[in-house]
Symmetry: C2
Subunit: 505 residues, 2 copies
């Protein structure tokens, strides 16, 4: 019988994964529910991660010629209706603005000044940006048009979870228009590749790249490409999507251009987005039973210095040494930004260390009189067990810190990749498939399942059957999906494609 | 009789200042009206200025310990009502969300799912952030709490002007809570000083710092401090405000803390903001009859290279030289960011040059075969007349470009400062005052007026009289307002303060 190890987060992942997730966020002080239904407050420690994602992604977009702009928060109802599938996809979750002032009445303040045409708070901006594009684009010389916006969007949700599913969330939405179908398809893939690169390199989240089944395609798109990541409960998280919209939205919004041979043609458009959901993915990929684990590339802060002294006489020397070390570290740049260094000189003893572990800071450094005497620091890495700390010379620490951080970054990615590989299986037998996705005890489902690569006949019927029976969906048809052929895991007829099945967020 | 000079913008400032403003924005391709009433589309050239403002200000905030966070877009009606003056100040211009989905009916899509409590799209976030603060703050150890958010806000406007007055705009709002009144007042001023510093150093806009009269104070605040700039039509633009809120919002939201001596006290709070309005101020401070003039520190791009060749044989050599020069320039850093270099190789002859002048880019560089032979460039500066260009060696140009940009930055500030000084007068005589602010021809008012420093008795009656008679308001009571004493410019009784009067945006 193993002794129960004390962990900073209760419950552990194994005990209750969804509750563990909430407790990690609380323990790291990242975000909280707001009194506004479905909306969250992103606290500084969580928001800093988003700022790092924004900065890193924005640079990658820019390198491909994308420019940022800003479009209205509100969309006239009539715009949304222009693309039939699109409005159907979003109608059930739209916040509607109906009035433009408040008036005192006997019942207190009431809405007044009704709008002639109600406005919808943008759930996504294809229609309002399409309207702008229709004015900006006249000739093939205006193409390609490559625009991105960082913004908030609203999709009304009844059941919300911080970062993963909230009524308001922050995201970026890229919108591009092209003269040819080929070019638009290439751009769709180019942006997906950027998402995959950022997820793997900066967030240390391994992802599968592929195409959504028609049933899971963005409302109004011809094709949706996606990156899918495996969380530690073995469920999939869709971490980013890139849509090839064909000429659907161009027709709806009238985005036309004069071609080289002077004919008038509809443009080919794409749109692509990632959101604050990535932070949820980061928590569930790397977090452990002691709390958040931050990949250094997007960490809110990189290192915390913890001055330690028992005798009041030592205080001044320890604090001076600590501040001097902080200055040296702040002069170091790590992936285009200066190291962010925290000094925690609160006199609350051992509780400090655990607070920073829960916050997932990559490096913790203790500095006491004996360390100073040896010109050394006592260091803990968040990717190693909390108790495992090592002493190294201060000079060595400063000169080697970027390597240390890269090593942590690398370890987190490798760990996550191994986890995904360990829980990804190929299957050909339907009974095996059903049993793989069925928890032993339905009352209290333990962590089970994973990613299954299996054949699919291509019919919506089989997709729906599996979804109804098991709450399992086709996550993607991978670009590098191995040999086609084989049999459909559901109906046994010839498989059109090899696809990835999983339960998903 | 002077010959009429051809200008890139029609009308000129003197001919029709408001229309000139619209045409500058159009000519520079910065922004446009959207089909959504009162909302604007900020195009890449305009949005890049905002991104530079965000980056520069954010660094200054951060240096003072402020951390960024994000709060909900929606505010429950009941929150807004907590502070009586506050809700009264904003009730007339609130976008109200009343429903959370759309349904098909015989009349097409209609709002459905009425909300039990309507939500207001944030016009400002004191109440929703106050609610968060009331949970985050328990003890004096949690203070000061220094939070900022970059966000969109909505204040419904019937008469809108791009950047200056739009229903939706982008801004930052800082919110801080303190244990003492003294500390909160000091923070109010500290942030105003940062606004002033940024306006003068980065935007090259000279500003006056001071306090608003009670009538112009933010709804719910004890004191509003502001920076005021003079536009080229001699009107004032309020460019930033910093509010000392006393304990008003702390009482409304229940922001209480345990003090050092274990009593429970209400916190002292502040809030402060600047918005995309700054871009309007920048246009109207520096723009000329050829269009936008961008201060290098916040310019969307710093320099455009214009390859010039007549013979097709020269094309390749000129383009190669141009791209090599661009690479050299992009390696140069100017105020913490790499130079942004445009290459315009469109074959549209002289029109190119004028387009970039209208866009306000600080430096234009022509590169032709003869320049290449001499290893030189032919350069135009946006702060000098369009026709005045000079040749200098390419090496000299590259090594001296940051000095050149600093020189332009400096010139723009000095020019604006001299303009303001030339149109600021002290007055003691009421008739003079009235005539100063009265256009000769009421039908077609020419540019007139300016800033008047004059005595004010402190009564709202005199303030209102002047506002009603002349549309002139007290812009601020300057911190360095010179000697008090003298007589009220309106009623002639003893003046309490020397204040700045002006017409304003």
């Amino acid at each position: 019988m193993t002794k129960k190890i004390k962990t900073a987060i209760s419950p552990t992942r194994a005990e209750d994964y969804p509750e563990w997730y909430q407790q990690v966020i609380k323990g790291a002080d990242m975000a909280e529910k707001s009194p506004v239904r479905g909306c969250m407050v992103i606290k500084p420690w969580g928001y800093a991660i988003w700022e790092n994602i924004v900065r890193g992604m924005d640079d990658l977009f820019r390198e491909t010629g994308v420019k940022n702009a800003y479009f209205p928060l509100f969309i006239p109802l009539s715009f949304l209706e222009k693309e039939a599938e699109h409005v159907e996809g979003f109608a059930k979750e739209c916040a509607v603005v109906s009035h433009h002032r408040l008036e005192q009445s006997d019942d207190g303040l009431v809405p007044a000044g009704p709008l002639q045409e109600p406005l919808v708070v943008r759930p996504t901006s294809e229609t309002i940006i399409g309207d702008a594009f229709s004015k900006w684009i006249k000739s093939y010389r205006d193409l390609p048009l490559l625009i991105n916006q960082w913004a908030n969007v609203v999709r009304w949700e009844m059941r919300t979870r911080l970062f993963l599913r909230t009524s308001e969330f922050l995201w970026q939405e890229g919108h591009t228009a092209h003269a040819t179908e080929t070019e638009a398809i290439a751009r769709t893939r180019q942006m997906l590749d950027i998402y995959a690169r950022f997820a793997e390199e900066a967030l240390a989240i391994p992802v599968l790249k592929g195409v959504k089944s028609p049933a899971e395609t963005f409302p109004g798109a011809i094709q949706t490409q996606c990156i899918e990541a495996m969380m530690q409960d073995r469920k999939a998280l869709q971490a980013g999507t890139s849509h090839f919209l064909g000429q659907n939205f161009a027709r709806a919004s009238g985005i036309k251009f004069q071609s080289r041979d002077e004919t008038e043609e509809y443009a080919w458009t794409t749109s692509w987005g990632v959101s604050t959901r990535l932070i949820g993915g980061l928590i569930m990929t790397h977090g452990d039973d002691d709390g958040l684990v931050l990949p250094p590339r997007v960490a809110s802060s990189h290192v915390v210095l913890l001055p330690i002294y028992r005798k009041p006489d030592d205080r001044s020397a320890v604090l001076t040494y600590t501040h001097r070390l902080a200055e040296r570290l702040r002069a170091v740049r790590y992936h285009h930004r200066p190291l962010v260094v925290e000094i925690d000189d609160r006199e609350i003893g051992g509780a400090r260390g655990w607070e920073w572990i829960k916050k997932g800071i990559p490096l913790r450094v203790e500095i006491g009189p004996r360390d100073i005497a040896a010109d050394a620091v006592f260091m803990g890495r968040r990717d190693l067990p909390a108790g495992k700390k090592s002493s190294l010379s201060t000079d060595q620490f400063v000169s080697g810190i970027t390597d240390l951080l890269d090593d942590i970054q690398h370890n987190l990615f490798e760990r996550a990749l191994q986890f995904r590989q360990a829980h990804t299986v190929e299957m050909t037998d339907k009974a095996d498939f059903y049993s793989f996705f069925t928890p032993a005890d339905r009352e209290r489902p333990e962590i089970h399942g994973g990613f299954v690569q299996a054949g699919w006949c291509g019919s919506e019927r089989c997709e729906t059957t599996i979804k109804t029976d098991l709450s399992v969906t086709i996550r993607c048809i991978p670009f590098d999906g191995g040999p086609s052929g084989g049999r459909c895991i559901c109906c046994g007829s010839a498989a059109e494609k090899q696809v990835i099945f999983a339960k998903a967020y």
